[in-house]
Symmetry: C2
Subunit: 118 residues, 2 copies
DNA sequence: CAGAATCCATTCGGATACTG
DNA sequence: CAGTATCCGAATGGATTCTG
């Protein structure tokens, strides 16, 4: 890698000085995956949510896809995964603090998107 | 241990009765493509924006990708494309009313995303 | 129940070259 | 300047099968 600038006081070569929304990679890339944004908001809405509940909410998502999305969001610390040693096994997902903040910021968007689809 | 009281009506056709953010396809699918959300906000920020300005703002987007994204957003009526019969040719993109509303609803998200990347 | 693993079709997006 | 066209590798997500 040629140039990795660790401290970015003011990128001199950035033509987009507004608020530089153009270079966003981490979170935006995560949110650009299928169901990611909806997933955050669904978990936010139905509180601690079990895997099955989430799966049902989407109704047409494959388990592999949902698993991936959950993993990614857990890894990125937007979701918290609590596993209980019970039979049958129970797992609950909930928003972390960051996830909660994210959810709040997604709300206006999804709300609007939902409105215009009906 | 009592279950959380659930007195929701339970619509028969929708397993996700909160606000049904799970079935969103149209807009969310559009926004899930690379640069789409940033693109809306950038155009919102630099007003009527020329193709070159937008391209420069992103600095690492390929012209084919940017073109696709622009086309999609124009087709979906979030962006307006104005072409002037000049030499050299000039094209300006601007937000439509829907695009403007979308931009406002994306703002909190991107703002936050930008903050946590620095 | 809550996934993990594997395989695979499709899609997406970048590079490159070319144009009105 | 503002794209379009083409090719192609990479990534994505679904189906299916299997498991603690």
């Amino acid at each position: 890698m040629a140039e990795t600038v660790d401290d970015r006081p003011e990128p001199p070569d950035s033509p987009c000085d507004i608020d530089c929304y153009c270079r966003l990679d981490g979170l935006m890339e995560l949110l650009s995956r299928r169901y990611a944004m909806q997933l955050i908001c669904v978990v936010g809405a139905i509180g601690p949510a079990r895997y099955g509940e989430i799966e049902d909410a989407f109704d047409d998502v494959s388990s592999s896809t949902l698993s991936s999305r959950l993993d990614e969001l857990v890894d990125a610390d937007y979701l918290d995964r609590e596993q209980y040693a019970e039979i049958p096994p129970r797992v609950e997902y909930d928003l972390t603090d960051d996830g909660d903040e994210l959810c709040r910021r997604l709300q206006p968007l999804l709300e609007w998107a939902a409105d215009r689809e009906r």
